[in-house]
């Protein structure tokens, strides 16, 4: 803060924001758009039967960036996250309108198959959910069903690489044939991350990946997320604001199904612009 130059750039970005103001979506404070988006969402509404869960959300997910979504329970952040790989399709009464594009391709387009979409937009869930199979089979399952491996050797190398990327290789390399459910909670979650990256997705969605883990395991996952950012685009829903502040570059605050504010994480956690954001992150939300 003593550095004059950072203070200056801060102000300049402010001025830039003022300029971009006309590009900002209605009802959302902050910069919804980024220059180099991987996914773009425009005017997304989600309905569960008659009930509307998401109201007119527009948001860009930037390439090789971690975007975190925060907000009180039931604010629709998980619902929105599940729109990004069409996991909401599994719920009969769920209906999504608006436009979600990935690399320019509308993912809700009738012609687009959901299977390749989910292969390129992987997901990690709240509760570690390894298959009740061996560690090896857990990782190998995705490449197998998508036919990504030519032979056993190739599959072996995919499994090893995925586990290494997930920082789990050293811990499990001697017991690949043991059940994945026998690992500790944190290891299971890293196994799930390894399983997701085994099919080389472009985007990884994480739905509260650390809420069932202890602080050390959480720290390992956070470190992993930071490393994965180099190769993947990550969208993470979290209840821990500290976690959002630590791992993400951009933060979006949801409230009652609306996207209230989105911006650089640094800005959101030091001087949010919207009162609701401020109240939530300072623990005043009642």
């Amino acid at each position: 803060m003593n550095d004059t130059s950072t203070a200056k750039t801060g102000l300049q970005s402010e001025a830039g924001a003022a300029m971009k103001q006309n590009r900002t979506a209605e009802g959302t404070v902050g910069e919804v758009y980024v220059d180099d988006p991987r996914m773009t969402c425009r005017n997304v509404d989600v309905y569960y039967g008659e009930k509307q869960a998401i109201f007119d959300v527009s948001l860009d997910v930037g390439k090789n960036q971690v975007i975190s979504m925060i907000g009180p329970s039931g604010c629709g952040k998980s619902t929105f996250l599940r729109c990004l790989n069409r996991m909401n399709d599994t719920i009969d009464i769920c209906r999504v309108t608006g436009q979600i594009k990935m690399d320019g391709q509308d993912i809700y387009d009738g012609g687009l198959d959901v299977v390749p979409l989910r292969a390129s937009v992987g997901m990690v869930f709240q509760k570690p959910n390894p298959f009740p199979k061996s560690i090896y089979d857990n990782i190998a399952y995705g490449p197998r069903i998508h036919g990504l491996c030519d032979d056993k050797q190739h599959l072996d190398s995919i499994v090893e690489k995925s586990l290494q990327r997930a920082g789990l290789w050293e811990e499990v390399k001697d017991r690949l044939d043991q059940p994945g459910t026998g690992l500790s909670g944190g290891q299971q979650q890293r196994l799930c991350i390894a399983r997701a990256i085994a099919v080389s997705p472009e985007v990884i969605l994480m739905d509260e990946p650390c809420s069932a883990l202890d602080p050390i395991a959480t720290a390992k996952i956070e470190e992993l997320i930071d490393e994965l950012r180099e190769n993947f685009t990550i969208a993470i829903v979290t209840h821990s604001m500290q976690q959002a502040a630590r791992v993400s570059q951009r933060t979006a605050y949801f409230h009652l199904g609306k996207l209230i504010e989105v911006g650089e994480t640094d800005q959101i956690f030091t001087s949010p612009r919207h009162k609701l954001t401020e109240d939530y992150i300072t623990g005043r939300f009642g």
């Binding site: 790989n85 599994t90 009969d92 299977v115 509760k127 959910n129 009740p132 995705g142």
Partner: protein, 431 residues
């Protein structure tokens, strides 16, 4: 201070009510324990009655005869033509042997009573012996043959000798002969193999449950091959694919209701559809199996759906999230996890089907069938129907056979349930 007083007052109140609360709890526990003990008493009473009635049926009284394979009565020595051998008068051999043992019996009426000590089935034993070994002709041998059921009952102590002679099935002169035979060590109780190797018969000593077991086996085979795949497929569709709307709700309600429909209704349905409409033969395991399949379907569907429901949704999410198609998700992950539960439900359904009588009565499986069925198209009885038939028979010897058949049926049911428990324990996975 005020708080302290308040607390003391509260504690006093609590203390006052405490005794009553504990007493109530004790009473409730006694009540529960009493209910369990009563239930156990009933069950053990049932078991004790059945076993005490039935265990004697596993033994059978045999009589030793000195048989001369008289070539005049059978065929010339050296004859091997089965046609000739089978037509011979083996009953005459036995009668001759009896006459020889009791030469003092000359009266025609008395002779007939004397011959009655030996089962009519004894002649078949001799025939079988000769036919398998024609060299026997012309030789003499000691042969153990099955005694008549009345003799059997007497030896087993089921005939009350204090009754007047006219009320007894064993007359005084028969008693004398039997004592004579006993003195000569010509009467013996042996393991009753007939019971497990023969079909039904009018003569208790010749009747067995093999026909019924085979009938039950074929019926269950049909039932399983139809009910299991159909039930599992229906459950998977309803649980995983079917949209949740009014139609599926209706189907669900109907399945649950079908499980509660009296089984005889299924019998009527089978009679109307399979026999009258499709023209399938009566009394065959094929129709029985079809009817029982209809009856067990709801049970299997309900159990399978419960098993599918108990697979944690996180596994489905994991598979879908990695890009597996719904079909792959189900076949690779959900079904293997649900299968133990499904199998358990199926086995329990099968056990139910095994013990079912009413619907089979409607489709004619209650007929008296002597032959052991060899295929699903042969007329046959099943175990519970056999029990029902025997329970209706007046002969004292059928009483113990009824109980013995019940014991066999129970043994099958218990082992099937144990198999279900074992399967569940072995394949059950925990998360």
């Amino acid at each position: 201070m005020n708080n302290q007083q308040q607390h003391q007052k509260t504690m006093e109140r609590v203390q006052q009510g405490l005794d009553r609360r504990y007493r109530k709890e004790r009473h409730f526990r006694w009540l529960g324990l009493g209910a369990i003990i009563l239930g156990l008493l009933f069950v053990s009473f049932l078991f004790i009655t059945i076993i005490s009635n039935g265990y004697t049926a596993f033994q059978q009284t045999y009589v030793k005869l000195d048989v001369f394979y008289d070539p005049e009565m059978i065929a010339p020595i050296g004859e091997t033509d089965p046609e000739v051998l089978s037509r011979a008068n083996y009953g005459g051999l036995i009668k001759a042997s009896m006459r020889q043992m009791f030469p003092e019996v000359t009266n025609r009426r008395e002779k007939k009573v004397l011959y009655g000590l030996i089962s009519t089935g004894a002649s078949y034993e001799l025939r079988n012996a000769v036919m398998s070994n024609p060299a026997l002709i012309g030789s003499k041998a000691e042969v153990w043959v099955v005694a008549d059921d009345d003799v059997d009952m007497l030896i087993k102590g089921h005939i009350d000798l204090r009754l007047p002679e006219s009320d007894r099935r064993i007359k005084d002169n028969q008693l004398g002969w039997i004592h004579l035979l006993q003195e000569q060590d010509r009467i013996e109780k042996r393991f009753n193999t007939t019971f497990f190797t023969a079909g039904d018969s009018r003569e208790p000593e010749l009747s067995g449950i093999k026909g019924a077991i085979a009938g039950s086996f074929f019926t269950l085979l049909i039932c399983l091959t139809i009910a299991f795949p159909v039930g599992v497929a229906a459950a998977v569709y309803l649980e995983e694919f079917a949209p949740k709307n009014r139609w599926t709700d209706l189907i669900e309600v109907n399945i649950n209701n079908l499980a509660a429909v009296p089984s005889i209704v299924f019998g009527l349905l089978g009679l109307a559809v399979f026999i009258n409409f499709f023209g399938l033969p009566r009394s065959v395991p094929l129709v029985g199996g079809l009817v029982l399949a209809l009856m067990t379907l709801p049970t299997i569907i309900i159990a399978s759906r419960a098993a599918l429901k108990s697979v944690p949704p996180s596994i489905r999410e994991a598979a879908l999230g990695i890009g597996a198609s719904p079909m792959q998700t189900i076949t690779h992950h959900v079904l293997p996890l649900a299968l133990p539960g499904m199998l358990t439900g199926t086995i329990i359904g099968m056990a139910q089907a095994l013990g079912e009588t009413a619907p089979l009565l409607m489709i004619g499986m209650v007929a008296f069938i002597v032959d052991v069925p060899g295929s699903v198209m042969d007329p046959s009885a099943v175990l519970p129907v056999q029990i029902y038939l025997w329970a209706d028979s007046p002969e004292r010897a059928f009483v113990e056979r009824t109980s013995a058949a019940i014991m066999v049926l129970l043994a099958f049911l218990i082992s099937m349930n144990l198999l279900a428990v074992w399967l569940r324990k072995k394949f059950e996975r925990r998360w």
